[in-house]
Point group: C2
Chain length 137, copies 2
DNA sequence: AATGTAAATGCAATAAAGTTGCGTTTGCGC
DNA sequence: GCGCAAACGCAACTTTATTGCATTTACATT
């Protein structure tokens, strides 16, 4: 199924801005920061980019994660998530060299035993260190 | 050992601002946001508060964590960490009701098996859900 | 106890990140 | 093609964090 259809299926219009963004996000398993996408699409207004990302997240097309430096990042949901409820529980890896954020789709979040009284909704596992290219250098 | 001494042992001066902050952080196992502390010490300049927290973190007196909403929070290191290298690998719980962030000092971070090529420095495990008081209500 | 000095503070300015309002444009169902 | 809700662009504003600099203060030394 092509990108335009994927967007329309979520009740959103397939605009050029949206197509550009979703194409980049789909090109790998990385989570992108607003600033990075802004640099990539210099002709797109920054507010539009904020709105595209928010709309995508609410539609369940992308998920939001905050990296070790507190930077908000967005990555494509591989299995489409129903609405804003992201069943996305995989592990993320944040490189301290290049600052790339990798979605490790195949690594499930470990489940953790926590004290009584706490009601768990979900777990975020964020691993940091150095990616392959950065450990080589 | 008293708070002033603890601060001085890290090569910092035991000022009133610092004593106030460290006293609050030591009063429980919660991680505080800048805004919360600012409200608590209305007479302290906000820049001073930023600097107090940064200095404490670099000294290894507190550790920084980012909550599920991207808000930066600080909590006292129970076992003093050597310099800025925080050996602090416990799990944190973030309540979606009251937004409190609990340091679960006794819950060690699970270790996760990740793909080859990645060099792991550390793991951040952030659990979110509802705390005892918030699940009751 | 007084003094010297590096460290810490307060204030103003600046920067970065995100939000809101509103008039104009455009995707797309008809 | 037409109509209209949705999306966009631009300006203004807010929140969070950083930087520079003059003044004050903790504390080691006399
Ligand atoms: Mn992901
Ligand atoms: Mn903690
Ligand atoms: Zn890297
Ligand atoms: Zn709560």
């Amino acid at each position: 199924m092509d990108l335009s259809t994927q967007i329309r299926e979520k009740g959103l219009k397939a605009t050029p801005s949206r197509l550009n963004v979703i194409q980049v996000l789909g090109s790998n398993h990385l989570a992108y920061a607003h600033a990075e996408l802004e640099a990539l699409f210099s002709d797109m207004d920054r507010v539009t980019l904020y709105r595209v990302l928010n709309d995508f997240e609410e539609a369940g097309l992308v998920h939001k994660i905050i990296d070790v430096d507190g930077v908000t990042r967005f990555a494509l949901c591989k299995h489409s998530c129903p609405g804003a409820h992201h069943a996305d529980e995989h592990v993320h890896f944040n490189c301290r060299g290049c600052h790339k954020m990798f979605c490790l789709e195949n690594v499930p979040a470990p489940n953790v035993k926590i004290p009584l009284g706490f009601k768990v909704s979900g777990v975020q596992t964020l691993i940091y260190g150095y990616c392959k290219s950065c450990s080589a250098a």
